[in-house]
């Protein structure tokens, strides 16, 4: 398992290339207007590690606003159709933002980080 940390100006991530795909865990508690750009750049860098799909582990994120949501959508786009972006372990107040904006319909959302290819499929 490859584990590295990317320390951006305001956004810390860890990555694991697993059987299920590339798991990128957001270590900051907020993806908001103050950190959306850093988030996007940090994930872009972290996604240079191998693995597909890319699974964004949101378990430590307690707050996201529409700017943060836009950054997650931007990541989906920059990964492209060959590398789907999945979401995992969203806390209730984070899941609420995806639900209200119907963006839950364009992501595969897992209750927990999947551990196998089958679970991630």
């Amino acid at each position: 398992v490859d584990n590295l940390k990317c320390r951006g100006q305001a956004m810390e991530l860890s990555t694991d290339t697993t059987e299920a795909g590339l798991v990128i865990r957001v270590l900051d508690s907020r993806i908001d207007a103050a950190s959306a750009i850093e988030f996007k750049e940090a994930v872009r860098h972290a996604a240079t590690a191998p693995g597909s799909p890319v699974i964004l582990d949101l378990s430590r994120v307690g707050f996201i606003d529409s700017s943060g949501l836009g950054a997650v959508v931007a990541v989906l786009k920059l990964l492209g159709p060959e590398r789907p972006l999945h979401l995992a372990s969203a806390q209730p107040n984070v899941a609420k933002v995806f639900r209200l904006t119907r963006m839950d319909s364009i992501f595969t959302i897992h209750d927990t980080v999947p551990t196998s290819l089958r679970a991630a499929g």
Binding site: D32, A33, F63, S66, S67, G70, N93
Partner: protein, 216 residues
């Protein structure tokens, strides 16, 4: 980065007993003289004591984050659950992001956020009261550019049709309108005033631990 001296929080929880707050706030939200009892706890607990609070800062993404932390810290003290706290933080964030981005832009300017706890009938709460299922009134004031004619955009999402239509913005007012029970915008002189009311799940707890009632 804004100098700390430009950020103030009126009736904030602090270990230093501040001056009597009566008259230190503007508008209708003003505590009676009995709202302040420094002898009991030696602590002014802001929102949980008075039922209202005001926080001022200069617009920026970072100052908005700091203000939200203060405001939500105070809201947590009045008995709101995680769902209500998340809702209030979200609508305040969206409104404040809008001020930072559109009312002021890069030059920035002053922002005032007021929180006022209302009882189930929509009246301002008093010390010692704990009405069932109250409301929180959030007022955001700025002195920047006015909103376009007609005020805040109505509900509705941008077109979501992957892969060609994946919007990265345009969600903010939709989120606010989904979560508030009342939304009003007024241009008052050279200022914008946005008022958002949120129904909360939990009874609000004002002046907890006290039987003190405000004189009418």
């Amino acid at each position: 980065m804004v100098a700390g001296g430009h950020s103030t929080m009126t009736a904030q929880g602090t270990d230093d007993p501040p001056p009597r707050p009566a008259g230190s706030l503007t508008g209708t939200a003003r505590p009676g003289p009995d709202a302040w009892d420094a002898t009991e706890t030696g602590t002014l607990r802001g929102l949980a004591v008075h039922g209202h609070l005001r926080r001022q800062f200069l617009s920026s993404d970072r100052e908005t984050r700091a203000a939200l932390a203060d405001l939500c810290g105070q809201l947590a003290l009045v008995g709101l659950d995680e769902d209500d706290l998340g809702t209030l933080e979200l609508i305040l964030a969206e409104a404040l992001n809008n001020v930072t981005e559109h009312a002021y832009g890069p030059e920035g300017g002053p922002v005032e956020v007021s929180l006022i706890l209302l009882d189930g009938a929509g009246n301002e709460t008093h010390v010692g009261s704990s009405g069932p299922n109250g409301r929180v009134l959030c007022e955001v004031r700025d002195y920047g550019r006015p909103m376009p004619p007609g005020g805040p955009p109505g509900p509705g999402l941008p077109l979501i049709a992957p892969p060609d239509h994946l919007p990265e913005g345009g969600f903010g007012w939709h989120i606010i309108r989904c979560l508030v029970s009342e939304l009003t915008y007024e241009r008052l002189g050279n200022s914008n005033r946005l008022r958002m009311e949120v129904d909360v799940n939990q009874p609000l707890s004002i002046g907890s631990g006290k039987s003190l009632a405000l004189g009418a």
